[in-house]
Symmetry: C2
């Protein structure tokens, strides 16, 4: 892993907001709703929405919409592909750290 | 290190191009010239210049201009503050990785 390979890596998670979202979703024991994610990450609604849409389009998160009583409720969780992508990106970061510290 | 703290971290190295530049400079045994950095990182000249200026303004790199024969030569190296900042940022990343993998 030289820095050039690190820079040329193609992953949605090179954006640190998306990295933080995926880390939060993968660490959660259950699906999280939009308000919990907002609260966990202190992002604006528009910013979080736009990142969630990209993650969803790429299949890294799944979105579940349901009604709780009469209220619509939307929850998010990491998909298997999302967990795999997070692992892959953390492995790349670990390698960069290891080799830079040598 | 929860993801919120990761997102609120204030460091020039949250930009991954600058992280790669600092990793390259800190790993080098001697100062690097502009062409070597370009070659190591495969960046455009304008992109590299603009990042080097920011790193220089923040005191993370030092720039040495000299003449080799009649030709001007500019070399770059990481300052002590730059090495410390790289270490700090890598520590933060390590913590995020460790806690996300738990």
């Amino acid at each position: 892993m030289d820095p050039k390979n690190f820079l040329s890596l193609d992953s949605l998670l090179t954006d640190r907001v998306r990295l933080a979202i995926m880390a939060t979703l993968c660490a959660a024991e259950e699906p999280l709703d939009f308000a919990s994610l907002l609260d966990n990450l202190e992002l604006s609604k528009g910013n979080l929405s736009s990142h969630m849409r990209k993650l969803d389009d790429a299949g890294l998160v799944s979105i579940k919409k349901e009604f709780v009583g009469r209220k619509p409720k939307t929850t998010y969780c990491a998909t298997e592909a999302g967990r795999a992508e997070l692992k892959r990106y953390l492995d790349v970061l670990s390698n960069l750290i290891k080799e830079t510290r040598q």
